[in-house]
């Protein structure tokens, strides 16, 4: 039995805005074991990035955890102070940011930025050991160690992302959260990076959470997929189950908007309308205004997130469109 790495229990996170409370994450639960990989997928603004940030409590000033629990490596960190969180961050859970995001500070050498993380979290190392370790990390992610004394602006997008991965691996975390890790890169680089990330994960045995709007990316790298809609988890299951046997009508629509080249031709289900305004989310099931199967109960009551088949959860009153 593998060790449990992360467990979210009914996690709810709100932003306080001038226009009112924005419910960004609502009642999200899942767990992750050593070596697991989970993909979080959904439209922009569905709360997938908010989930990622909440796990490390990296919320902006106006965001706060309203309810639920975050358990990392058996420790309930929900009420950890900033100071306590510092040890968890990067030491146990590290992040890979979107490549388009400038996650590397432009004014410091890439190698020094990795060193900084290690100085913070690892036991004191001699200068030589530290440099040797950085070289090793660079080689691991396919970068020339000589590049460590360069500045971020001298790196290409793909190289930068490799450097960030090296940084994420530097302190031996048990979980890495990758937020849109390859979105800004071109397809070739994207492909090789994803494959390599998959390899590191297997080799080093850590858990991974991929966050992406791109169903293709998620399908390639993760064993399980969580589909998010309007701050809630709509469906969670193995990648195969989600792709070939979706339960939630939203997943059905999402999957059909990603046509398979080899599979049989299916009709593309179109989704009318836009994601809801989370300042004032729809009553009941948040998907009901756009759902072709919606009935009165969907408007009145929020469906529970229940296990329909072993390991395959969904929150829907009309699974697979059945009445």
């Amino acid at each position: 039995m593998a060790e449990e790495v992360l467990r979210l229990e009914h996690l709810t996170m709100h932003y306080k805005t001038r226009a009112g409370e924005l419910s960004a994450v609502d009642d999200v639960s899942f767990k992750l074991e050593e070596g697991d990989s989970l993909g979080l997928v959904g439209e922009s603004g569905c709360g997938k990035t908010s989930v990622a940030l909440t796990i490390l409590k990296l919320l902006p000033e106006n965001g706060y955890i309203k309810g639920g629990k975050i358990i990392i490596n058996g420790k309930d960190i929900t009420n950890y102070t900033e100071n306590q969180m510092r040890k968890v961050r990067w030491g146990e859970v590290s992040m890979v940011f979107q490549a388009a995001m400038n996650a590397l500070n432009p004014v410091y050498r890439v190698g020094d930025q990795i060193e900084e993380a290690m100085v913070t979290h690892l036991p004191p190392l001699s200068k030589e050991d530290m440099q040797a370790r950085i070289d090793e990390l660079f080689r691991l992610v396919g970068l020339d160690p000589a590049l460590k004394t360069r500045y971020p602006h001298e790196f290409s997008g793909g190289m930068r992302q490799r450097a960030i991965i090296a940084m994420a691996l530097s302190c031996g975390p048990i979980l890495i959260i990758a937020d849109e890790p390859t979105t800004a890169l071109d397809v070739i680089v994207q492909d090789s990076l994803l494959r390599e990330m998959r390899e590191f994960q297997k080799k080093l045995g850590m858990a991974m959470i991929y966050v992406s709007h791109d169903v293709g990316v998620i399908a390639e790298v993760s064993e399980r997929v969580g589909v998010m809609y309007a701050g809630r988890m709509a469906e969670l299951g193995t990648t195969a189950a989600i792709f070939h046997d979706p339960i939630h009508p939203y997943t059905m629509a999402l999957m059909s908007s990603f046509p398979s080249i080899v599979g049989e031709k299916t009709e593309l289900v179109s989704l009318p309308g836009e994601p809801p305004n989370l300042l004032n989310p729809p009553s009941g099931c948040r998907f009901h205004p756009r759902c072709p199967f919606a009935t009165q109960i969907c408007i009145d009551q929020n469906p529970d997130f229940v296990e329909h088949e072993p390991g395959h959860f969904a929150a829907c009153w009309h699974p697979r469109g059945k009445k």
Partner: protein, 383 residues
């Protein structure tokens, strides 16, 4: 880095040359003859009048005069000041420039340092009341009518409280019968300050290589030794009290110029810092588990400083103007007050000398800021 600096130096020299050309033709374009006011001075003999006219080359075509003026400038000859006749302009500049440089340099360094620290603090500790108070204070200092501000300061600290003298460079009574001139004492003070500054910088630089445990002891020990050295040196020269008199007169003008540039720096740093805090590398730094101090001072402040240094270049001229106003109000005989007086008395060679000096000071500061920017931002350094 070296290539960048060389390139900037070349550009700055070119700009300075353009500036000199601009100054010459601007003055030349004025209506009427620019010695007229002085040639009609009945105290001048015909011979002197003739020498002056020849020295100024007033009867030559403008192109020739321009070449001659530039040539003389390169030889360090800026002509003779009418109002200080027969002192050469360069002589007046050598006497008064150090004062303006000290005023400008102290005010700039202090206001940059304190303004940046205050802005950084404001961006970090956000609170409605503090934010409004600081914004109002900053905007007030930034837009206050400088002469009035200087007057209020004089009235308060010199007139009412009597902490500092009302104006002037020295207390003349005090200097009566002293063997040295104020100029030479000031020059000695300047040399001491530069040497002490260099020593301080060396200490700070060496301390960084030491083991963290000793750093504070060595740092403060070094400061104490330097301070003691300076005090001992001045005590044994016997003119220490005269130097103190100059310092006493220096406090208020420096404070005024510092304060007027402080507000702008503080406001800008705050904005720049708030923008930087939204950057992704700040989120990454937080995710890395760094301490607040590391995130603020190492990651945010370093980047937030870049626009502040850029704005410093834009504000150079503003600070120099503040210097002119302040020198005039305090009757503090630096280059600013000299230039204004020369302008009012139509002492053209002195006006040109003043402009030449002002341009030199502005461009040197510009160059220093550029080099500092390149040092702070590798994207420039390795461009």
């Amino acid at each position: 880095m070296r290539a960048y600096i060389l390139k900037r130096v070349a550009q700055i020299l070119l700009t300075y040359f353009l500036f000199l050309t601009g100054v010459f033709f601007l003055i030349d374009a004025q209506p009427g003859d620019f010695g007229a006011a002085y040639f009609s001075d009945p105290r001048l003999t015909a011979e002197q009048r003739h020498t002056l006219s020849n020295a100024l080359g007033l009867n030559k075509p403008v192109g020739e005069r321009y070449v001659q003026w530039i040539g003389n400038f390169l030889k360090g000859d800026l002509g003779v000041s009418f109002s200080n006749y027969p002192r050469p302009v360069t002589d007046v500049i050598v006497e008064r420039a150090p004062r303006t440089i000290v005023l400008f340099l102290t005010a700039t360094v202090v206001s940059f340092y304190t303004g940046f620290a205050a802005g950084k603090f404001l961006a970090w500790k956000r609170g409605q009341l503090l934010e409004y108070t600081a914004t109002i204070a900053g905007v007030s200092l930034f837009t206050v009518f400088t002469p009035w501000f200087a007057l209020v300061m004089i009235w308060l600290f010199a007139f009412r409280l009597g902490w500092v003298p009302i104006g002037k460079f020295i207390n003349a009574q005090f200097w009566m019968g002293s063997p040295v001139t104020a100029g030479s004492v000031f020059q000695q003070m300047l040399v001491t300050a530069i040497l002490a500054g260099l020593a301080l910088f060396t200490v700070l630089f060496l301390v960084r290589r030491l083991d963290a445990r000793y750093r504070n002891y060595v740092r403060w020990g070094g400061f104490a030794v330097i301070l003691a050295g300076v005090i001992l040196y001045w005590a044994q020269t016997g003119i220490g009290t005269l130097a103190l008199d100059i310092l006493h007169h220096l406090i208020l003008p420096v404070s005024v110029v510092t304060l007027i540039s402080f507000g702008g720096t503080m406001l800008l740093t705050r904005n720049s810092m708030l923008e930087t805090l939204r950057e992704d590398y700040i989120l990454a730094a937080r995710a890395k588990g760094l301490t607040e101090k590391e995130i603020r001072d190492k990651h945010a402040a370093r980047n937030a400083m870049l626009p502040v240094v850029t704005a410093f270049v834009f504000n150079l001229a503003f600070t120099l103007d503040g210097g002119i106003i302040t020198e005039t109000i305090f009757s503090w005989p630096g280059m600013g007050a000299t230039l204004l007086e020369a302008a009012i008395t139509e002492d053209i060679p002195m006006v040109m000398g003043g402009l030449v000096f002002t341009g030199f000071l502005a461009l040197t500061a510009h160059l220093v800021a550029d080099i500092m920017y390149a040092y702070l931002d590798p994207r420039i350094r390795y461009a």
